[in-house]
């Protein structure tokens, strides 16, 4: 939402704007921060990576003639003497959505140049992400302890393990990288780098709150991927 006005260019909404954008001189998304456009391009390519994982999972699960392990039981937890299906995964989902919400608010407060609120909300997002990774590590540990390996498992089709570790592992890596950046950006926000326009790394461009939005795009994408993993891997 950083449609900064540049000289002689006026942004038009709707299909007129689209025609103007695609037919525009030299650059396409005029007025959009380059980092934001590049983040979208990166997320698009990442979408393809995760799609390939999920499609190969679909193919693997569809083409095996051995019964697929029942995720509801495999990922169930035994709490207070009761077996609760998918409990940990449900909590993880809620934690990730919580952190996505705090991130959305952080972006909003960032644009309002509310340094304190923005910083605290980024920090809350980071802690949510850290909790998520922690629970995922617990889940991995539990399954490995129960004998799930990429090549075999005691519940059913042996492909289950390889898809599980690959998909959730790749997603967990994204979350972990996101958490690291969230902590760095929380520090940068509190330190006022975006108010002063301090330069970041590897760039000569001045810092701005639009960077919070770029980070937010990445974080929401991680949540978005989890929506699909939750549906296809855990619920299906």
């Amino acid at each position: 939402m950083s449609d900064l006005k540049i000289e002689g260019y006026e942004f038009k909404p709707g299909f007129k704007g689209m025609a103007k954008d695609t037919g525009s001189d030299q650059t396409m998304f005029k007025g959009v921060h380059w980092g934001k456009a590049m983040m979208w391009i990166f997320l698009l390519s990442d979408t393809f990576i995760f799609s390939c994982f999920l499609i190969s999972y679909m193919k693997g699960r569809g083409s095996t003639i051995i019964d697929w392990p029942n995720p509801s039981e495999v990922f169930g937890l035994h709490v207070f003497g009761v077996d609760v299906p998918l409990l940990l995964i449900a909590i993880m989902t809620f934690v990730l959505i919580t952190s996505s919400g705090t991130m959305a608010l952080a972006v909003k407060y960032g644009y309002e140049k509310n340094k304190k609120m923005c910083g605290w909300l980024i920090l809350a997002t980071a802690i949510g992400g850290l909790t998520f990774v922690g629970m995922q590590a617990f889940e991995w540990g539990k399954l490995i302890h129960e004998g799930v390996r990429p090549w075999e498992n005691p519940f059913g089709a042996p492909q289950f393990g390889s898809f599980f570790f690959m998909i959730t592992g790749f997603h967990g890596t994204h979350v972990s990288i996101g958490v690291i950046f969230l902590f760095i950006y929380a520090y940068k926000t509190f330190a006022g780098h975006y108010d002063e326009g301090k330069r970041g790394w590897f760039t000569t461009m001045k810092g701005d709150y639009v960077e919070i939005e770029i980070l937010g795009l990445y974080w929401h994408f991680v949540d978005l991927v989890w929506v699909f993993i939750f549906a296809f891997f855990y619920l299906w």
């Binding site: 689209m18 998304f29 393809f48 003639i65 959305a104 937010g216 949540d223 978005l224 929506v227």
Partner: protein
């Protein structure tokens, strides 16, 4: 002065919209968990899972990732490539059906 005021209006939205979407995401996640809780099976289960999944994904993309307010050029650049993924899914569905058919065939008939 007038220009900066205009700028601010375009770049932020009321907090209410975010809280609404946030709440909706919680409710939808709860519903999709309930699909498993009540052990719905068959077409009902799959359609409910997909319904809640697409609704959640749409809300996140439209409002948290601001696509709803974004310029059409960007929206189109992002959404059209998804048709390639849809094609790939259809191809691989045909592929796994063929694979599982040959496996059944050779395991039962023995070649």
């Amino acid at each position: 002065m007038d220009k900066t005021k205009k700028q601010e209006q375009t770049s932020t939205h009321k907090i209410g919209i975010y809280l609404w979407i946030w709440g909706l995401l919680f409710v939808l996640s709860f519903f999709s968990y309930m699909v498993d809780w009540y052990q719905f099976q068959g077409m009902l289960r799959w359609s409910l899972i997909l319904f809640f999944m697409f609704l959640k994904a749409g809300l996140i993309m439209a409002f948290f990732m601001h696509l709803y307010w974004e310029r059409y050029a960007l929206v189109n650049v992002l959404l059209w490539p998804m048709t390639a993924i849809a094609c790939f899914i259809f191809l691989m569905v045909a592929e796994f059906e063929y694979t599982v058919f040959t496996r059944f065939f050779y395991f039962v008939v023995g070649g």
